[in-house]
């Protein structure tokens, strides 16, 4: 899963970056409206954290513009403006959630998780597939009850596939959702992660659909 953090306060952006990376996300940050606008149009994100008081373009203007141009990525507004009048404006501007500063990172993480799940049409926080279970709140994968150690990229590949298990996910789509922008993608290809996941979990969980991509086998979530 890949998120974009739009925050002009550098130290706060750094801390959010650290917390989200720790929680298993590929994270990009943008310090201002223009950079955010560029990234949103060139990259693909599963969720966006948006500050409103940005230098240059105001966050709300940006959000309205994105929604008008058909960008439906879930957006959580993270701002110092905490009055109900401003919250209504934010939600009506196209935001999916609103958290006022100061906030607990835990809460923001939980809300982003829920937002991504809802967007994928999933209700519970633990995704299951036979003996395999992925707990999104703890970023933990267990097989028959035993914890499986995964690297952050392996976790992202598996999490993305399990969130979108009703369909086939192409290699390009996976690539777009597991790397941060500045990451060197050539040395760690999707194929390598899939092979490692099959080694750790057993070959039967991830199917290759020739010419199309990958999908998680089995029915129950």
């Amino acid at each position: 899963m890949r998120v974009l953090i739009v925050e002009d306060e550098a130290s706060l952006a750094r801390q959010l970056w650290a917390s989200f990376s720790e929680a298993g996300y590929a994270v990009d940050t943008a310090p201002g409206g223009q950079q955010a606008d560029l990234l949103v149009h060139s990259e693909t994100y599963d969720a966006i954290l948006l500050d409103l008081g940005l230098p240059g373009v105001d966050g709300l203007t940006l959000l309205r513009r994105w929604r008008r141009s058909g960008i439906a990525t879930p957006v959580l507004i993270l701002t110092a403006r905490g009055s109900w009048h401003e919250k209504v404006e934010g939600i009506d501007g196209g935001a999916d959630d609103y958290v006022a500063k100061p906030f607990r990172v835990e809460e923001v993480l939980a809300r982003i998780r829920a937002l991504i799940r809802r967007t994928a049409g999933i209700v519970q926080s633990e995704l299951r597939c036979g003996a395999l279970s992925l707990d999104t709140s703890a970023a933990r994968v267990t097989l028959d009850g035993a914890v499986v150690k995964l690297t952050s990229h392996e976790y992202r590949v598996l999490a993305y596939l399990m969130h979108h298990r009703r369909r086939v996910v192409s290699r390009t789509e996976l690539t777009e959702h597991i790397y941060a922008q500045d990451f060197d993608r050539d040395s760690n290809t999707v194929e390598v992660f899939i092979a490692r996941l099959r080694r750790k979990l057993g070959a039967e969980f991830i199917q290759t659909v020739r010419g199309l991509g990958y999908r998680i086998a089995g029915e129950d979530i």
Binding site: A80, V88, I91, D92, Y98, K101, P102, F103
Partner: protein, 324 residues
């Protein structure tokens, strides 16, 4: 003796004037009769009648001159009651400059209040980023020193609550100095319910609204949002599955009722949760000042808030606001 009432000064002046006039007229008529003795004994009913008419006309003019003060008083009262922002209307030449000065003063004061409110808002917003940083630092401490982390977090939350509380009050006080434009209740309620359904999406609540679309309240829109937002957010936090919002006009006030099917608040706790800084249950996150803000705002507009049991099983909040 100093006469304080304008009316008595006016009457006093007219009596003195008339008395002087009579005295001079008496002298003149004595001289006239001495010069023309043939006029003695002539009576003119017409002259008496004309004199009476003139007196009545004078009386009416005097009354009308003073009558300008009564509408002035009404318009001033309207400004005080926030129904108008300036004293309107045309007044006699002597009064008009006073009214103009008064209007200039009102406009200046409004600007000053607006400036103060903006400063308060800026201060609040600028405080929140460092508070957010502090909170993050505290959270990172959780592993090493959980107690310290917890203490810092709690203090940051308290500071935030106070900043929010006083910001809401400052905004309300500022809007109180302007005229509180009528706000469409049903429209604002619908906007807030949209917001609630997003913010509490995980709970999958049923939110029901029944408010006549024509209902207007004499409350600034931002303040109405703040009151409804706090009450609905509370209801959504505690509800098991259902929150209902209704309103109706009762005489000159509008009664807004918000109910939920949550656990409710014990009767002996109700008065306390409306006070500042008390939370009925510390287990749910949220500002302990939420209900206190609503009460303060309601009272600022001459309204009130009452808590009771809801037939749905949870809390029933009755918010009384002035209708428009």
């Amino acid at each position: 003796m100093i006469l304080r009432s304008l009316r008595s000064r006016w009457i006093c002046a007219s009596i003195l004037w008339t008395a002087g006039l009579l005295l001079i007229m008496h002298m003149l008529s004595i001289l006239l009769i001495r010069a023309l003795p043939s006029l003695r004994g002539v009576h003119s009913v017409g002259a008496v009648f004309a004199g009476l008419l003139m007196m009545i006309a004078g009386f009416i003019f005097a009354r009308r001159g003073l009558a300008a003060f009564s509408p002035l008083r009404q318009r001033l009262a309207a400004v005080r009651k926030r129904e108008a922002s300036l004293v309107e209307g045309l007044y006699p030449t002597e009064v008009q400059p006073l009214v103009d000065e008064l209007n200039a003063l009102l406009a200046e004061r409004e600007k000053a209040v607006e400036r103060a409110q903006r400063t308060a808002a800026d201060l609040a917003h600028e405080l929140k980023t460092p508070l957010a940083l502090l909170m993050q630092e505290a959270e990172r401490l959780t592993a090493g020193n959980p107690q310290l982390s917890d203490n810092i977090t709690r203090q940051v939350e308290r500071m935030t609550q106070h900043v929010n509380y006083h910001l809401a009050r400052a905004r309300a006080a500022a809007s109180g100095s302007r005229g509180a434009g009528p706000s469409p209740l049903a429209e604002r309620a619908a906007a807030l319910l949209r917001t609630m359904s997003k913010l509490h999406a995980e709970k999958g609540l049923t939110l029901v609204q029944s408010i006549p679309p024509s209902l207007l309240v004499r409350v600034q829109q931002e303040d109405l949002d703040e009151m409804l937002g706090n009450l609905l957010d509370n209801a959504c936090k505690w509800a098991c599955g259902r929150v209902s919002l209704s309103a109706e006009r009762v005489a000159s006030t509008v009664e807004i009722v918000i109910e939920d099917d949550g656990p409710g608040i014990a009767p002996d706790l109700r008065a306390r949760v409306l006070g500042r800084g008390v939370r009925a249950d510390q287990s749910k996150p949220g500002s302990g000042l939420g209900l206190a803000i609503v009460r303060d705002l309601a009272e600022l507009y001459g309204g009130a808030i009452h808590l009771s049991d809801s037939p749905l099983g949870g809390l029933k909040v009755r918010l009384l606001t002035p209708g428009a």
